[in-house]
């Protein structure tokens, strides 16, 4: 039976299928019982080649790719590395968030599509400054609107900067606004400074008064007092506690205690008794009133003489203010929406979510599918809406750059966030039309938590810095990057001292000198990272050469940022991208309480140099002082610079209006898709 059906099948395979053939088979009495088998054989013999053919042809007549469809719809598909922590522009600090926010909001000045140095009008049509560049007047567009149609006025900007600087919001990026007059005092909640120092009628000048202990003295050990009630302390303990906290941080009860027993607090001799009493009285009045917002009293350098004029007064000349104002921290936030969803100072409320978020940029938030994409669509109320080239942008949080590269090559993205350096050579060979390698103002570095035992010793930190072989890393791992000579990358005329070099022997000697020969005696450290990549392995191997073992701790982007801000890490892989074209965008980070410092390190000397530079009118002299400050910073080495970034990414040629920019802030409104220009 079996041999019979097989030749039939073979025969049918060659010829065409005729119903009578099977009919003939049925006439054979032997085949009767086997009809099903014959049919099956027939079907298989015909379907297999057809299936094979279909399989072969399928890739040929390809389905339209995502990019093809997006080209038709005018939607740009952007690889954006990580799921944003939030879309509240006053809270977030990362590049992935910034990319989205710059589509949703616009600052006073806009980005030029092809030149980082040039400013274009944004919310302000034009602006002027006084002679010494300490007072800037921005003339806002009368037609400016929020994306819900509400008018946007100078008051909105003042509200935004008020919120950004509000001490209770604790915005990590608030120091970007510290150059506004009195902004730093307000942001750091320096009550004494605001209540007494800013009062011209106060009997003692602030220059003298500030010598009193307002900020607290962290060098005094008071850990034993941490959890005890003030009332239960004896005289000596009270004195110690008050000195540790400082006048600005005392509550009403403690201030009352000083009022009643002045000996509890030490004052410098030059402050007269009357002033002392007055300081305490004012602080007490403030504390008893429930510590109300000091915004009015702080008299920040922000003024709106009319709804369309914003006057910003600065504490020092800032020639690059328009450049700085392009950063997301200077963007306005919608007062009417924020206050609808909570208090001004509430973090992570629902105002910055789909359906609620109102912006003033070329696009508005359309969809946020967690871990999938964020989509923004045209904002019809944007002042320049008719000239916006795209209908929308979709940001994909693809963390793995290899996956991102594959997505791009499969036609799912127009532009990627980064190309893994080890694919550089292959891409250069096979896809030169997509490859972009551009200069980028940024530094890859290793952040140290200098409050950890071991890492609090500058000798240990310097030993670690000496052990990093930057040339080798840039040649084989961070391909296309430049070995970092210091923290701040090359920027205009700024010439910082090139201090970093590789010297393993010296590193070992230094470590031994610090009391940890071959790393013995050092606690074990964890290396915090948001992504396991070759850099992590390389740093681990580098530290191993000194006998220091690192375990690896991987966290998602949001938790990785949060862990650093709370100083809950030992050592972290980090990067910093410049926000504007001035070295201060790298140096200001390391001031005390800067939300992006996150090393636990600060130095009054370093900050004095920064202040001195800020007051220096001569540009070159100013840069020289900044270079000195950088030298101080590099002496202490709270971070280990590794490499200066290059921007390596893949980019489709149909994207127009996208030019190399060292800050990489491509104004989305100028980008357009021209698929026809490619074919």
């Amino acid at each position: 039976m079996l041999p019979f059906s097989v030749p039939t099948a073979a025969h049918q395979e060659k010829g065409t299928f005729h119903p009578e053939n099977t009919a003939k088979n049925t006439t054979n009495p032997l085949a009767g019982c086997n009809r099903a088998l014959v049919y099956r054989a027939l079907i298989f013999s015909r379907t297999i080649p057809v299936l094979a053919l279909v399989c072969l042809l399928l890739p040929g007549c390809r389905r339209e790719t995502l990019v093809g469809r997006a080209n038709r719809e005018g939607i740009l598909l952007v690889g954006n590395s990580a799921e944003p922590r939030a879309l509240d522009l006053q809270i977030v600090t990362g590049v992935p968030e910034n990319k989205i926010l710059s589509a949703l909001f616009e600052g006073l000045c806009g980005d030029h599509p092809s030149d980082d140095e040039k400013m274009v009008p944004g919310m302000a049509t034009h602006w002027e400054h006084n002679e010494d560049m300490t007072e800037w007047t921005f003339h806002l567009r009368p037609e400016a609107k929020w994306s819900d149609g509400a008018p946007l006025t100078a008051e909105d900007f003042i509200f935004s900067y008020h919120r950004m600087l509000h001490p209770e919001l604790a915005a990590a990026y608030a120091p970007m606004l510290h150059s506004i007059r009195n902004a730093e005092a307000y942001n750091r909640d320096e009550r004494g400074h605001i209540l007494c120092g800013l009062d011209e009628n106060f009997p003692t000048q602030w220059e003298t008064l500030r010598k009193a202990n307002f900020q607290g003295d962290p060098s005094i050990d008071a850990e034993d007092l941490a959890n005890r009630k003030f009332a239960s302390l004896d005289q000596g303990e009270r004195r110690r506690l008050l000195a540790v906290k400082g006048l600005d941080r005392l509550d009403a009860g403690q201030l009352r205690a000083i009022r009643d027993t002045p000996a509890l607090f030490d004052w410098p001799d030059e402050i007269p008794q009357a002033s002392r009493t007055l300081v305490i009285a004012r602080l007490l009045e403030h504390a008893e009133a429930g510590a109300p917002d000091l915004f009015e009293k702080a008299r920040l350098g922000l003024d709106a003489p009319d709804p369309h004029t914003l006057v910003v007064s600065l504490r020092e000349p800032v020639p690059y203010l328009p450049s700085k104002s392009r950063h997301s921290t200077w963007f306005p936030v919608p007062r009417h929406v924020i206050l609808k969803h909570g208090k001004m100072t509430d973090r992570f409320t629902k105002w910055a979510t789909v359906g609620n978020l109102v912006g003033n940029g070329p696009f508005q938030l359309h969809a946020w599918r967690y871990n999938h994409y964020i989509e923004v669509r045209r904002n019809p109320h944007y002042w320049n809406a008719p000239n916006v080239g795209l209908n929308g942008i979709r940001f994909y949080p693809i963390e793995n750059p290899y996956t991102e590269t594959r997505s791009f090559l499969a036609g799912q993205l127009h532009t990627t966030y980064s190309l893994p350096p080890d694919l550089l050579e292959k891409t250069r060979r096979e896809y030169p039309q997509y490859l972009r390698t551009e200069p980028y103002v940024g530094t890859v570095f290793v952040r140290l938590n200098t409050t950890r035992p071991g890492l609090d010793d500058p000798r240990v930190r310097r030993a670690l810095a000496l052990a990093i072989n930057r040339e080798e890393l840039c040649k084989y791992i961070y391909e296309g990057f430049t070995p970092a000579e210091t923290f701040t990358p090359q920027l205009g005329d700024y010439r910082p001292p090139a201090v970093l070099r590789y010297n393993l022997e010296e590193a070992k000697a230094l470590l031994a000198e610090a009391g940890y020969p071959n790393g013995e005696g050092l606690p074990s450290f964890a290396l915090l990272t948001s992504r396991l990549n070759a850099g992590v392995d390389a740093i681990q191997a580098t530290f191993r050469k000194l006998g220091i073992r690192l375990t690896v701790e991987q966290k998602d982007w949001g938790s990785y940022i949060a862990a650093q801000q709370q100083l809950e890490f030992d050592i972290a892989m980090a990067g910093w991208i410049g926000d504007y074209l001035d070295p201060t965008t790298f140096l200001d980070l390391w001031t005390r309480n800067n939300g992006n410092n996150n090393t636990g390190w600060d130095s009054p000397e370093f900050e004095a140099l920064l202040r001195k530079a800020a007051r220096q009118p001569n540009p070159q002299a100013r840069l020289d002082i900044l270079a000195q400050a950088e030298g101080k910073f590099m002496e202490a080495m709270p971070v280990l610079p590794v490499a200066w970034y290059s921007r390596l990414y893949l980019h489709r040629p149909e994207v127009h209006g996208w030019h190399p920019l060292v800050l990489d802030n491509h104004p989305w409104e100028n980008v357009s898709l021209k698929p026809d220009s490619v074919r």
């Binding site: 793995n400 290899y402 084989y476 396991l532 392995d537 375990t551 991987q554």
Partner: protein, 321 residues
Amino acid sequence: MQAETVTDTLVETDDGHSLWSDAWQRLRHNRAAMCGLAFLGSIIALCFVVPFFPFLPDPAIQDLPNKNSMPTAAHWMGTDHLGRDLFSRILHGGRISILIGLITTMVSLTIGVTVGAIAGYVGGRLDALLMRVVDILYSLPFLIIVILFSALAKGYTQDFTVWVTEITGWKHDTIAPFTGLIPLFVAIGALSWLNISRIVRASVQDISQREYVEAARSLGLPHRRILLRHIIPNSIGPIVVYATLTIPGVMLFEATLSFLGLGVQPPYSSWGILIKDGADRMLSNPSLLIFPSIFFILTLLSLNFLGDGLRDALDPKSAKD
């Protein structure tokens, strides 16, 4: 004389008929299973013995100028993206993968067979109770429980590692990759026994109705002996098959956990990690994906062959013919 010879032969035949020797006889004739066994044996020997030979490079030593090299005399399978010897990394990673596979499967088998056999044999309220416990554990998200457990145990593991180094005087590097895995062993093992307990319970319920169990009972054998002697050996087929499926599953699961930062930490690796890294870099250096995958696939295949053979050998009734 004649009588004596007869008894001798009788005794001899009686001797050679235990369950395990019968099974071994049958297994020996299953060529695929024997190949699998031989391969498994050699891979285990390779992974656990060869790394102690000095000619194999240290898997953590980076030789950046020599990265992504093709196989050479010094590096038999080439080097990875950091210039580390791939062969050495595969063997070192294999130790961890195989250990995880075997130990966690052991843990899950021990718990699962015990619970399943008791539930199936005793029945009634105890059965209902045990099976509801299993139901509840089923409803818990496996991954989250393992992550929670490993995260909680992390601090203790480090202390334990230090303690072991002090006690034994071994080098930290030798021990750290293994002690770091203890929470993983326990966590996966303690949660992956649910399926096996159900399978064993069903099979025990079936077998305890059989005549030979009735016979054993009527002979007055204690329950423990009935269970260990008659019921469990007769339900060994599904257990062995399930175990051979669990081992590769656990090896893959370890890769997931390592990716989340809970399993093996760099610079140590396992096959799962090597394959994940290799998949990332398959465009630039495909050998990073191919070589570890070959080891992984062959191990899994031989485990499956061996499992099939064991089932046939231990339970001739279920054989295909």
